[in-house]
Symmetry: C2
Subunit: 348 residues, 2 copies
Amino acid sequence: MKPTQKHTIHDIAMRIGTSASTVSAALNGTWKARRIKEETAQRIIALAREMGYSVNLQARGLRTARSGLVGLILPEHSNRFFSDLSQSFTVEARARSQCPVIIATARKPEEELSTVRDLMGYSIDALFVAGAADPSQISDICRAAQLPHVFIDQPCPGAPSVITDNETGARQLTEAIIDTLAPHSPALEGTGREKVYLLGGDARLHASSRRIAGFQSAITAHFGKCDADQVIACGYEPEVAQTEIQALYARLGGLPAGLFANSINVFEEVLRFLSQRPEIELGAFSLGCFDYEPYGALLRLPVHMVRQRHLELVRTAWELLDKPGSTDLVTVPPELCLARPRRLPPEG
Amino acid sequence: MKPTQKHTIHDIAMRIGTSASTVSAALNGTWKARRIKEETAQRIIALAREMGYSVNLQARGLRTARSGLVGLILPEHSNRFFSDLSQSFTVEARARSQCPVIIATARKPEEELSTVRDLMGYSIDALFVAGAADPSQISDICRAAQLPHVFIDQPCPGAPSVITDNETGARQLTEAIIDTLAPHSPALEGTGREKVYLLGGDARLHASSRRIAGFQSAITAHFGKCDADQVIACGYEPEVAQTEIQALYARLGGLPAGLFANSINVFEEVLRFLSQRPEIELGAFSLGCFDYEPYGALLRLPVHMVRQRHLELVRTAWELLDKPGSTDLVTVPPELCLARPRRLPPEG
DNA sequence: TTAATATGCAACAACGATTGTGCAGGCGTT
DNA sequence: AACGCCTGCACAATCGTTGTTGCATATTAA
């Protein structure tokens, strides 16, 4: 017996004694509209199943100028948020019987562009972009090719975008940090250790600037003011964050009352720093992170976190594609993951 | 001006005043072999670039019965190992100018199979499978369709597979745990608290059984014996693991000398449990995890970890595809990530 | 000078599906 | 009986590329 060959609708047509177009109609569900007798259609479907036939999607795509593929471009896989996004994207794509193609481009603009072009070569039906280095250029290319596209977690002027409500999230997180501050200690007054600080992020970026605004608003509402030194937007580099947290500790002569870590990387550095401090110091420290990491809940230190609603983001993005031109920028509120209250007294 | 249309090689041919086949040859690099004058080829290439032409990969794929797509099937994106794998897979695919298509199938056999069929519909050039619920059925389908495929981190009889050397990794991890045991305390002798335990995993599964063997071998080498109660292969369910760790703690009247967490889920439960214990108890506790999680290094407790070499696994898998029939099962040693020594004395 | 060989390209037939069009036969109507 | 309509399907064009074949010229060998 020959090795199993690939079957085509012509093979099926020959064996049923009908034409390829009839087989096509029977198999892709248009047989009713094409006035194929139900019995004929059923015979074809049965035989196709028996032969293990499956359509050649490239041929279909060539003919229809579509492909059933939807692309998602993101910077990296190895990151909670993006892998959560991949997960939701996959689920949603399959729910719409589309095939997800998720590609990480390492934040390199050239790679982003070449990936976009590649995907367009496959005639993808839509492109989702999360965290690109150069959004507008991508948007330009897509628009030129009339490819429906949408940005996630990143606003792109002129293109539909869905982003997290950073300001509200930051305000809520800050309030949570304030709520769990240790009882006021007069001894710290005026040392700077009685204040809450925000660490990390780049004030020039949209997301960071909104978060800073939310932080300042909550701080001002509670303390009546927010000093300039309370915002340390030192970027996203781990090394820099490590340096800054050490500098802050040295300057204050100890941990501050509370800290708002502006990204997961910064949070990681804060933990790294804290892991070297005696546990006793952590007793009066209130920590929050604008990002989500399940391990945060497993620490001995309560940590408040903000989690982006990845499923909501993806769903909203898809809706934006469905009704084009409706709104260009949609925000989705994040989820606040409050730490459970401290269960252990500072002293064993 | 009309909206930018898609260009084809015919458009280019017309504008240059040549034929489509010449354009095709010029653009896909076969022009030398097809005896096209260099100058003609260059003119075509220049015009194509100017027009922003890009090949229709579906048409090419239809013609050549290939697609440039390579598939990777995995259970979920939101898991360190799998997202690392995705990352490496992406890099390697692009290095071979293939387009990675990574699909998570939630460990559901039906979804795995339908995904495989879907991908085959796109004429993918190869399929990588990591952590499928039903490997042999997938392998059967691929073989029937003569689709090159390879399993990663999971052996499949009759199909090329590349897996981590679980036994060696487990032995090394156990040795590391033993090396960092607290000084022997005569008071604990005979209570069971002087022993090291393995928690989690399913002894019927290949990976777990090798790990258990490695654990037992290291324990026996050091202590002269390994009691049956030291291996608690209670599966991978978080709830069960939580129950078991609590039961062990209750039975022993405290933490054991050391613990080998057999998977990341179990490790998470162990941390959850530990986060409720006073820090003083952790001073004499030695912990290891057969899996990798960067946050493990940020804990106040030193944790040894075993990390699968995802890049190596992926590379090896690709090599297995390149020289078919060479070897069916290849193992790759994992990487041991030793915790740095404890820096803080148990007492602040 | 003639024949053989090389060069440079055009024509054309696939690849496997979709889809607009056409046509035969059966039926009902006037 | 002639006409139109409905049913059920076949035919053929088409999508954009690739690779085979063939056919002119141009060049060299004999």
